[in-house]
């Protein structure tokens, strides 16, 4: 690493990332940074490339151009399971729990790359404190949980890897409004405990309310960026996403 250190102390840095599905270009030179202890929101409409951005970060697909660094390390071409081991954990869209595994085994799967039994037990306890419902349903199959409980489990599972960066894809999708409150409150709690979060949401208002900074994606391009408050106040964002 003889090159100069990056100017920012960003934990995660995407620089000019292009990504394709076959021939269709889904991302056009996307640059995003996430700093230590930040909540960063990625907002935009359906098909804007939010999920694709997460997928390129977590190694489920690889960028055609551009680079991704995490903690100063180049991870552009790193494979998914190695990226998890580096400390980036994604709670995928549609939750993607293991429906026919017990709640506790889903959580254990979250800690798959870890070997420290004591730490795992400690984090399991932390998840159960955040989501007491999960403790009650410990031995139930994940597929038999309600939608809200499944979302809690998805976030809990992501936390079990003790991530250096937590990526949440549409955590409020399909939840009753009152549960959305609980989920966003928990996101802030997790962040306050020291975990940076990259949040992808269609629910732009809620996401920008909790986010320190945000990016607005449109058809694979970043069209606007700023602090959460700035974006909430921006006329463009209000018109496009907040229906004002």
């Amino acid at each position: 690493m003889a090159t100069t250190a990056p100017a920012t102390s960003a934990l995660l840095e995407l620089r000019g990332v292009d990504a394709f599905y076959g021939r269709v270009q889904a991302l056009h030179g996307v640059s995003v940074t996430v700093g230590q202890s930040e909540i960063v929101a990625l907002i935009g409409s359906n098909g804007a490339g939010k999920t694709t951005t997460l997928r390129t970060i977590s190694g489920l697909m690889h960028p055609a151009n551009g680079s991704i660094t995490f903690g100063g390390q180049e991870i552009t071409k790193t494979r998914a399971h190695e990226i998890v081991a580096l400390g980036i954990c994604q709670s995928p869209e549609g939750r993607r729990l293991f429906p026919r595994m017990q709640v506790i085994d889903n959580l254990r799967m979250g800690a798959f790359t870890r070997k420290d039994k004591a730490g795992i037990a400690q984090d399991m306890e932390r998840v159960f404190v955040l989501f007491p419902r999960l403790r009650e349903r410990m031995t139930q199959l994940a597929g038999t949980l309600s939608g809200g409980e499944q979302q809690m489990l998805a976030i809990g599972r992501a936390l079990m890897s003790r991530p250096k960066l937590l990526m949440l894809d549409e955590p409020s999708l399909g939840l009753a409004p009152i549960l959305v409150d609980t989920i966003f409150k928990t996101i802030q709690e997790i962040n306050a405990a020291g975990t940076p979060i990259l949040l992808v949401e269609q629910n732009a208002v809620r996401a920008l309310e909790v986010a320190h900074r945000g990016y607005v994606l449109e058809t694979g391009n970043i069209v606007q960026t700023g602090t959460g408050k700035e974006l909430l106040a921006s006329p463009d964002v209000q018109r496009a996403y907040l229906g004002m």
């Binding site: 399971h81 939608g147 549960l179």
Partner: protein
């Protein structure tokens, strides 16, 4: 040891159907020689020999259960690994190599071949798996189906090495370095060296020991980190990768372990029959083992063992003796007319013989209709089928979560 018993007791094994079945299977295995001796009036050899053959299928089922039940990979060519295990024993534990271009013979002891066959079969599992395990579901099934057809054909057509359709015969009999003779075998008490295991009881004991080892192994595997990774892959491969599972490696391992069990079974089978022939490892073997896994309760170890024993009983005992059974029943209830051929009717015995596979099919269909989860399913499948899984929040849930 005491701690283990206490733990088992505190979990109250009577509430756990699996524990009950393990217990019953163990008792059954121990008492079976005695039972066979009593029912046959002192000549248990036939029944013990059948039990040994049934054990081969239990071993195969345990192995395929790792691949299909635990990791969710549909393998339709499992008999190929069985063949590879059996031929491994045939090559290195008989005079056969003398008639091949090698012109030499190898007589490796049975116990060592067990280990060798395990590695050979597992290696073939990896060789087949490495290029194909990137495929999913149906595609993998087709490729394994092809492999299952290719392997017996290779053994059949490379006659310079394998004697083709004639197979390889006069395989070595397993030997124990030291054995005790005594009143139980009708001899005076004595120590025998290089004891050859000829009698079916010997094979029966070997099989029971093999099965115990294998059950302990797969049980530990299932409850291990790798077992959870397999379950996760079976549920959702992408999500498993997102959790940090190296999915290709995990699937390869499942394939290799499944193949290894099959190699075990093949070696035992070859040694017991003292003959291997390409005809013994056809598609029907792969399918029979798959049926045993599904019908017993995919993913549940005692379930698939129970399934394999019952299916074995039906295929190899009940169905072949069906014509005789119905004939004697007809005679006993006075319908002797039915036993005679008349016109198009061939007599009830022959009639039953013709309907054998229809009856087998009906049994399978009925079991799957009445118990789609298998005879003794894992707790997971049971819960899934009784409670159902859903992905939507319903009103009561919201109230329960917020209230």
């Amino acid at each position: 040891m005491i701690g283990w018993f206490r733990r088992v007791w505190e979990n109250d094994p009577r509430k756990d159907p699996n524990a009950v079945v393990y217990f019953l299977l163990a008792i059954f295995a121990v008492l079976f020689p005695l039972f066979a001796s009593v029912v046959t009036g002192g000549s248990p050899n036939f029944l013990l020999s059948v039990a040994g053959d049934a054990g081969v299928y239990v071993l195969l089922t345990l192995g395929l259960n790792v691949v299909v039940g635990m990791a969710g990979l549909l393998d339709l060519g499992y008999a190929a690994f069985f063949a590879i295990g059996a031929y491994t024993y045939a090559f290195i534990a008989s005079d056969h190599l003398a008639v091949t271009p090698l012109q030499t013979t190898l007589h490796v002891p049975f116990w060592i071949v067990l280990l060798i066959a395990l590695f050979v079969a597992a290696s073939f599992g990896v060789i087949l798996g490495a290029p194909t395990l990137r495929l999913r579901g149906d595609y993998l099934a087709i490729v394994t189906l092809g492999f299952g057809e290719i392997v017996p054909r290779v053994f059949k057509n490379t006659s310079t090495w394998t004697s083709g359709v004639n197979g390889i015969s006069a395989l070595d009999t397993p030997e124990l370095p030291i054995w005790f003779k005594g009143p139980w075998s009708g001899d005076p008490l004595a120590v025998v060296q290089n004891f050859k295991i000829f009698d079916p009881l010997g094979y029966y004991v070997i099989m029971v020991v093999l099965l115990v080892i294998c059950v302990v192994l797969v049980r530990n595997l299932q409850n291990s980190r790798m077992g959870r990774a397999w379950a996760a892959i079976r549920e959702d491969e992408v999500a498993a990768a997102a959790m940090g599972v190296n999915t290709v490696q995990a699937k390869l391992l499942a394939f290799a372990i499944g193949a290894a069990f099959s190699g075990f079974a093949g070696t035992f089978y070859g040694a017991k029959l003292s003959l291997v022939s390409p005809e013994n490892f056809g598609f029907s073997v792969s399918i029979t083992v798959l049926v045993m896994v599904v019908l017993g309760g995919m993913g549940n170890i005692p379930g698939v063992m129970l399934g394999s024993l019952l299916i074995y009983l039906v295929i190899f005992m009940v169905l072949p003796s069906l014509p005789d059974t119905v004939t004697s029943i007809a005679n006993a209830i006075g319908l002797t007319g039915l036993t005679q051929a008349s016109g198009d009717f061939p007599g009830i015995g022959e009639f039953a013989a013709r309907l054998k596979f229809l009856i087998f099919g009906l049994i399978l269909v009925l079991v799957m209709l009445l118990r789609p989860q298998g005879l003794l399913p894992s707790r997971e499948r049971e819960q899934e089928l009784t409670k159902g899984t859903h992905d939507d929040t319903i009103i009561e849930d919201v109230q329960a979560e917020t209230g």
